[in-house]
């Protein structure tokens, strides 16, 4: 009924249209949405829609690269940005596709669930009148009376794991492979579990990043995080109060030049830490890539590392006005790192230094850069500025200097811009008696990411369940076998007719039917 209505209605003359009504249209929409064709279309659409997320930089992965891309493409950039191409997986159109797909999935699976439930609890259908019309069929005559043959076949079918039912004294109806449909339904329902798990993790999970130089201690409070992104339902003040001290960070790099780009490639990073749980004793823990630290209030991952040169700035009287390990952010595989030193306490004007830290430094026509990631020849290359560090009080990155309200410090040699190159232990005097800058030494820092995802277990369990269901639905075959027995003409023998009906494209049904007959022979 619905099928004809569905195809006819949209093209019918307007006079009869109101007959369909809101309910009719809703039903039509629902039927269309939950049809296999729509599901197929949505699947293909989902695949296509996911691709831009790999071709355009994504804000959630690399915000800096995204902004750079938009700046580089003044026409396309803002337009694509408005269309959500830099946040594909959070964009309304991507969400629309997968939500429609899941609605379609639910609409498709629920009726099937009901049908399957009934089928599981009811006997296989009555045997058709003419078994030889079935796709697979075999016949034999047996030296036994019909009832005996039928009972033997019943045993044979049971041992082949069929569910057997006799609707009348001369036939048997048998069916097996219900697991195929069960698996299929489990697969689809488990996908909903995956989606719920992902959503749960999004709502209740959080992640925060910390840059922790060697020797420093991180206390798990909101203010200690460099960045903190909580899910919408997270209370960020409710963090497990543990502490983590970074005692040492080992980093090793490939020193053998194989000629194929492996020179300087990272080989191992290990952070040696002292972990003090909220109410416990300090314990030594190592954190490595692939070996995160479970704290009970978030998992600590070692996701990055770099160098934090120890820099001291004194004023004209020799009083220390800045001193500390200052992390510089690595920009390439050789750890050419950028950073800034901000000295708000300097007189008469605030001082700022921006520049590079190079673990194995060289300065050539490409500018200052590092040629190896390890500390073979550490150099600090800085330019100096004076003026106002935080002109409008706006928050700014600690790794860059906003020179909008600053002027270059003149060089001591009379140049317009003070450029400093320091090796560990070096001190340089600033012009006009403003003091000095000292590069005391260099430590490593660990880039730690601390995350929780309460939905991950549900997602994993659902995914594995989906996999199990998928395998069952692909491997198991749904088969029906019907048996009819009757006396042979003029004799005591019995004619056995076995017909097989496969639900899907099933090459082996013919073999199955003959195997049943053969088993009858063997089963005397």
């Amino acid at each position: 009924m619905s099928t004809t209505e569905r195809t006819r209605t949209p093209s019918e003359p307007p006079v009869t249209q109101p007959r369909l009504g809101v309910v009719g249209w809703a039903r039509w929409t629902w039927r269309s949405l939950t049809s296999m064709r729509t599901a197929l279309f949505l699947l293909l659409l989902l695949a296509v829609a996911a691709v831009p997320g790999s071709t355009f930089p994504q804000r959630s992965i690399d915000a800096a690269r995204t902004n750079q891309w938009i700046t580089d493409h003044p026409t396309a950039g803002p337009l694509l940005d408005r269309l959500g191409f830099f946040d594909v997986y959070a964009s309304p159109w991507f969400a629309a596709i997968y939500l429609l797909l899941f609605v379609s999935l639910i609409g498709c699976v629920l009726p099937r669930l009901r049908i399957h439930w009934h089928q599981l609890r009811s006997a296989p259908p009555r045997a058709p009148r003419r078994l030889e019309r079935l796709g697979a069929h075999a016949r034999a005559e047996v030296d036994a009376d019909p009832e005996e043959v039928r009972e033997r076949l019943r045993t044979v079918l049971r041992s082949r794991r069929y569910r057997v039912h006799a609707h009348d004294p001369t036939t048997l109806s048998a069916e097996k492979g219900y697991v195929r449909e069960s698996g299929n339904l489990v697969f689809h329902l488990a996908l909903i579990g995956v989606l719920v798990g992902v959503a749960w993790g999004h709502l209740l999970g959080w992640k925060g990043d910390v840059i922790l130089p060697v020797g420093q201690t991180f206390a798990n409070t909101l203010s200690r995080y460099d960045t903190f992104s909580p899910g919408p339902w997270v209370d960020p003040t409710d963090l497990e109060p543990y502490t983590l001290r970074l005692d040492r960070l080992d980093a090793t790099f490939e020193t053998e030049d194989t000629g194929r780009g492996q020179f300087g490639a990272p080989r191992d990073f290990t952070a040696h830490t002292t972990f003090t749980p909220a109410d416990g004793q300090p314990e030594d823990r190592t954190i490595r890539v692939n070996h995160p630290l479970e704290t009970g209030g978030g998992t600590v991952f070692l996701l990055g590392n770099g160098y934090a040169p120890h820099i001291t700035v004194t004023d004209g009287d020799g009083t220390v006005i800045y001193s500390g390990a200052t992390p510089f952010l690595p920009q390439d595989n050789n750890y050419t790192s950028v950073g800034a030193v901000k000295v708000p306490g300097a007189e008469p004007e605030q001082l700022g230094f921006a520049g590079f830290f190079l673990p194995t430094g060289t300065i050539d026509e490409q500018g200052p850069r590092s040629v190896f990631p390890d500390l073979l020849d550490p150099q600090l290359v800085l330019t100096g500025f004076s003026g106002e560090l935080f002109p409008d009080g706006a928050p700014q990155s600690v790794y860059t200097l906003d020179t909008g309200a600053m002027a270059p410090l003149p060089g001591t040699d009379g140049s317009d811009q003070l450029r400093i190159l320091l090796r560990p232990g070096d001190t340089v005097d600033l012009p006009d008696g403003r003091g000095s800058v000292t590069f005391d030494g260099v430590d490593r820092f660990a880039g730690l990411s601390i995350r929780t995802d309460p939905g991950k277990s549900l997602t994993l369990a659902s995914a594995l369940l989906a996999l199990a269901g998928l395998v069952a639905s692909l491997v198991v075959r749904r088969r029906r076998v019907f048996v009819r027995v009757g006396p042979a003409e003029g004799g005591t023998r019995t004619v056995v007719s076995v017909g097989g009906l496969a639900k899907d494209d099933d090459e082996g049904m013919g073999d199955e039917v003959t195997a049943v007959l053969e088993a009858l022979e063997g089963h005397r």
Partner: protein, 352 residues
């Protein structure tokens, strides 16, 4: 033995495998092209009729009509159903695959092709094992290693499957992609033996990447079968017949085989994605980051899921469904050859 010797041996094994496989390719092509002398053509006619009888027997219904109740033999079940069942179950591949109208010379050529393929497989296995010994780790750390291990899996899958059914007609279409892959591996993707970067040092490398490679290998065979099906189908519907394709099974049978291969590969790929997510959580802190490689793995999964859907959708032609499977394989190739090398992401392990 020093590592350099091992490296040389490994490369020699791969080069030798390529030479052997090239010969296998020629043999298979000769077999399909029927260029071998057809001296025994006269005798073939008879052989040609035999499988048709078998086919009729397999259908079952008619075979049983001849039922003779003259069976004085005591067994209760007369011989006819069992003989019909023997007929239908005796050839591991019922009538559709491999037509037995072949002269002995053709069979010999195909046999040589198969023997050479087995030898080539052993050489690739040797190449992979030597490589593993050379790098002291699971040999799946860069593009070169993915490619040679992938080739190994394709060949092993083919050889293993061949023991269960007659696949001489498929040989050419397995050896050619393998040769292409090995050729690219040794010229474009070659990477000297090196240690792994820290994020790859995990037991999940063996699990995730091995299964991914195996899955791609199985998909490769499915891709070959898909193309063969579409070609054969077009030929059959146009009524033309080329000598080349005549040695292949009928379109309907090819389609079933293609589907059968895909339903092995698809769960493997599903597992790959799940295992990858578990590993991503350990290594990068989050099980799904929409890294380009993850995006493409997801796209591949969705496209092949669409293929399985399309095949189950009544009213969708098998041909169209197969096109979707082919599109899935194109995505796989892009994921390997393009995303690995040109896209910025965390899966930057090409070694190039």
């Amino acid at each position: 033995m020093t590592d350099t010797t091992l490296a040389q041996l490994s490369n020699t094994a791969i080069y030798s495998a390529m030479a052997v496989l090239t010969l296998a390719m020629l043999a298979y092509a000769l077999y399909l092209a029927r260029l071998v002398p057809a001296r025994e053509r006269a005798g073939d006619e008879e052989a040609e009729r035999a499988p048709e009888l078998v086919a009729a027997g397999a259908a079952g219904a008619e075979g049983a009509e001849v039922a003779d109740d003259s069976g004085p033999t005591t067994p209760a079940v007369p011989s006819s159903p069992s003989s019909s069942s023997v007929a239908s179950s005796a050839p591991p591949s019922p009538p559709a695959s491999g037509r037995d109208d072949e002269p002995v010379a053709a069979r010999k050529v195909a046999g040589i092709g198969y023997a050479l393929t087995v030898l080539g497989t052993l050489l690739v296995v040797a190449g992979v094992l030597l490589r593993a010994a050379e790098v002291h780790r699971w040999p799946l750390g860069n593009m070169y290693e993915f490619a040679i291990v992938g080739s190994m899996f394709v060949l092993l899958a083919y050889v293993a499957w061949s023991t269960r059914r007659d696949l001489r007609w498929l040989g050419l279409f397995v050896v050619v992609p393998v040769l292409l892959n090995l050729g690219l591996a040794i010229t474009v993707w070659y990477t000297d033996a090196s240690e792994l970067m820290p994020s790859l040092r995990s037991v999940w490398l063996a699990i995730h990447v091995s299964v991914a490679t195996l899955s791609v290998a199985v998909f490769t065979i499915g891709f070959s079968l898909g193309i063969l099906y579409l070609v054969q189908d077009r030929l059959e519907s146009s009524g033309r017949s080329t000598t080349f394709m005549a040695r292949l099974p009928r379109a309907r049978s090819l389609e079933r085989l293609a589907y059968g291969v895909h339903i092995v590969a698809f769960p493997l790929w599903t597992f790959t994605v799940i295992a990858g997510a578990i590993w991503a959580r350990q290594a990068w802190g989050s099980y799904w980051n929409w890294d380009p490689k993850e995006v493409w793995s997801f796209v591949i999964w969705v496209v092949y899921a669409a293929y399985l859907h399309a095949r189950a959708t009544t009213g969708w032609k098998r041909q169209n469904a197969t096109w979707i499977a082919l599109a899935g394989f194109v995505c796989l190739i892009l994921n390997f050859a393009v995303v690995n090398v040109f896209f910025v992401g965390q899966h930057s392990y090409s070694g190039l």
